[in-house]
Symmetry: D2
Subunit: 307 residues, 4 copies
């Protein structure tokens, strides 16, 4: 047979696990979507259909739910580390495990002051509303020796209503764009950042704090950059994270330029002084780039996705 | 020809208008998705294709953008009122206008303290991040005489991690469900409420404040109800809005029961003490109902949608 | 309590049932998404949380799957009739049942001629590919006495690349649209049609044949109408179905005008002779209307949806 | 500044271009979604915001539409080759262009025999309905010297209702799955295949014929494989394409195992003899793998996406 098997992986994708932790009457939620991908000595199942080396995807699903009980969910990253270590160390044919996690954040519902009738206390501690802003992501890979942790986010939409220009670009025979000296700059941030924690010997980062800080720096860099191009803003955002967070060595950003076109109101005898915009869907500019700590090698793939 | 024309309407749907208002350096955003539906003397265009009575959908789009400049966007409801009045009063063949609006909410990005380098002030006042929680909706209908305003929301996901039971139900030969005395109750709220403001003679409600209060009451009623069924919670939610807001006479709620199934961990020798849940997608219970101020007639359709 | 309960309904939505029927080696698929909505004497569960009249949504789900075995799935409509009759006649408090069905169509995979190695016959009779064109829909409602059946489709995208004009319309101060004498007309058909079968006394329509014929007539009317407006095309489509199918009395169509804008190529020294178009997403014209057999009363709601 | 720029690219994504070609009265459609990504000497725009090397994304959009006129759209691949060559050869700072295309297929509407009234001929030759089955994809990359063309598809859903087993797998302490000797095997095919055409010196493949044949072989291999695991089916599918098509050297497949669970009807006194299934959404098994012509190096990334 003149064909051979190349890279392959398998597992159960999108296991929706919700963990409630009770601290007296006060409850806490972790709400994750966990995908398992395993690889190793899997030639035989592809060539002959023999499942002798195959831990069923159903078992990987069971493991996700069982581990939520056995280890709890301190953070998405820590949970992924437990899972990846388990698959690689407990099954001989499995040489590599990649765990991807989406996390959905909840906040408490503020309740009314005088509602003791039903719940016998002056505060409801088990009621939540989903924040719904960005989706937090992480990917944990383990090969039995080294760890790679890439965290990030998607669906975070931001806008500057001024302090953005775009001019001085190349003009060829297909160029019709007018230069802009005050435009809206809006994007939906998809970001992935890689930690320099790679070994059990190293001190593990505080994953929760690291995420909160990375998000803050991305937002602030976006807000505080006077932008001459979205590429410049992208670089400032990635650079700010690396400069502020010593545990992060590489940031990959994918920033669609969500165009807000100034509407021409002249036909109606009106002047549009940067007030009324049409928010377009497609097409959109798409600006993608990696920012690296100097001296570090890039490892996040060009089309890094999370689920 | 033995067929005749029944109800019909037309217009431009999903006009994505963004309005920036400048209060010195401080900017404000209104971000709307506006759909126009007009009806009236439109037999001829259906029967013969004569467009003599047809204001083009393209013109209705232009009007949305021009009105954002001419009238500003104080609230989605007020903006819809301007538009509906215009179409019905300015075009003789148009007898009725229905304006639907989705609104997306933004909040300011908090910036770092010491960043005067780029922007020459100690605060960034033109940078926003989309909140991304619920989508706010409204529908304004005008027939030249009477107004109907239905506001609401969609995509607001809430959860109580306790204080929910379900037992004492009918059991037939197809019933296998076990009774539950402590379960998760989660839903994604789709709500529509109708105002009793119907005429220009009446004092207009404060639409922004009304929305904020209605949302607060829906959330609190959800949180504070010890639930024996999602129907009971639905009624409490609708009832709380009407009892608290005199400007609202009718509430329609559509509440999918987002099932969180307790995972059976016994095969793994583990006890699941209401800790680990599987969040299921489909199928889901769907509980829908109208709550009315006593004496009032229902007008919100069973399958009310917004866009 | 100054509030009362209005219209309400509940049930399990989106039960994804797949039925395989074996005719020797030849298999047949029915692939449905079934939603149950029940109403009746349900005040108490809303007011007090007593579930004494509530057949659980979980039971309605079980019934869907059990009925696929007990009655088979001859057609979506016939299956819905079995379910609706069951709920209304078997549970005293349930006065009305509405069953909604989405159906996904499959076709056989044509296999190679000489592949007897694996399957021991000269044709594979159990292999299918999803057609993926339109989704077929139906809604069956029963109140213990009368039936209402509304069938239809969604997601069927069609285009005429000529034979469409738009001119002679109203021009007001916000009108900038140029008249068009040869344009693309494209839409995604959402259609619902109501049968005049309402009682067990009447002879039941052939649901499968009726659907195939209604789809054919909608497509042909779209293709064969020289269009002066999308409203005219809509009326021709609805009218053709009613004139051709005596079992159908009412058709409701919702037709988004999927704009294809001629791209201005003049800046590049090129002439665009109705060749190159930009397919826009939003906004879009939305043309909706009902066509009725003369003398018949309309019953399909303005915003008829299926799921 | 201790950070540096890594891989980066930019361009206009999702240009929706529709091209109508007229062969007398007979029209033909090409309906594409084209995304441009350029890279090269772009450090400066990231570091300082200077756009001196930046061809605007708006210009790349204009080029897509202009080229549809100038070169026509013979195939998605040929169109992408024109575009990629143009960007790399016409702009000195651009060293590499990647064009991605989604293609939507249309078929003619069959019209009625006797409809000469409106259109003056016995056949409508300008009316189309979107097929809606799979989306065809391609990615063309050019660095000024070498070409890489990866074509494929997504959203093609297939099912075998028998001839699939799964047993003999590893069982650990988290395994509860029962072995299956006759199950449904269903998946939604996402496939990408790489051509060995890499230089203008070589004879170019017939892209349209190659696609049709690759699709046919994927479908037939799926249908004709008696499956002991989805991995085995995946390998057969990829292998069949390479063995049948000499122009293709590598195939990457991503196959979600769309679980169809046999419903337990015993509680209702019914036997489920592989007849009634619940089609589940999440979680799902995800089986991914590359099949290579022997001796060839893999180049399609693990997470190859198209848009």
């Amino acid at each position: 047979m003149p064909t051979i098997l190349g890279q392959n992986q398998y597992g159960k994708a999108e296991n929706r696990v919700v963990k409630i932790t009770r601290d007296g009457d006060t409850h806490h939620i972790k709400d994750l979507n966990v995908s398992v991908a395993l690889s190793g000595d899997m030639e035989e199942v592809h060539y002959s259909g023999s499942n002798a080396n195959v831990l069923p995807t159903d078992t990987t699903k069971n493991t996700v739910f069982a581990f939520a009980k056995e280890h709890g969910i301190e953070s998405a990253e820590q949970f992924g580390i437990h899972l990846a270590r388990h698959f690689v160390t407990s099954q001989e044919p499995i040489k590599r495990a990649r765990i991807r996690v989406e996390e959905y954040t909840w906040e408490r519902i503020e309740t009314s002051d005088n509602n003791s009738r039903f719940i016998g206390s002056d505060e409801v501690k088990h009621s939540f509303v989903r924040k719904g802003q960005e989706v937090r992501t992480s990917q944990i890979t383990f090969d039995g020796e080294n760890w790679e942790v890439i965290s990030g986010m998607k669906d975070l939409t931001v806008m500057n209503s001024t302090n953005s220009e775009f001019w001085g670009y190349v003009k060829d025979k297909y160029t019709t764009l007018q230069e802009a000296y005050d435009r809206i700059l809006a994007t939906t941030v998809q970001a992935a950042w890689r930690f320099n924690w790679t070994s059990d010997e190293q001190r593990m980062p505080n994953w929760e704090r690291s995420y909160a800080e990375a998000k803050k720096h991305l937002l602030q860099a976006f807000a505080e950059t006077y932008s001459l191009s979205l590429q410049q803003t992208l670089y400032q955002m990635g650079s700010r994270v690396i400069n502020s967070r010593s545990e992060i060595d590489e940031v990959r950003l994918s920033l669609p330029n969500k165009h807000h076109f100034l509407v021409d109101l002249e036909p109606f005898g009106l002047k549009n002084d940067n007030e009324v915009y049409f928010a377009a869907d497609r097409p959109y500019g798409l600006i993608e780039g990696t920012v690296l700590r100097d001296g570090v090698e890039a490892r996040i793939p060009v089309d890094h996705t999370n689920l």
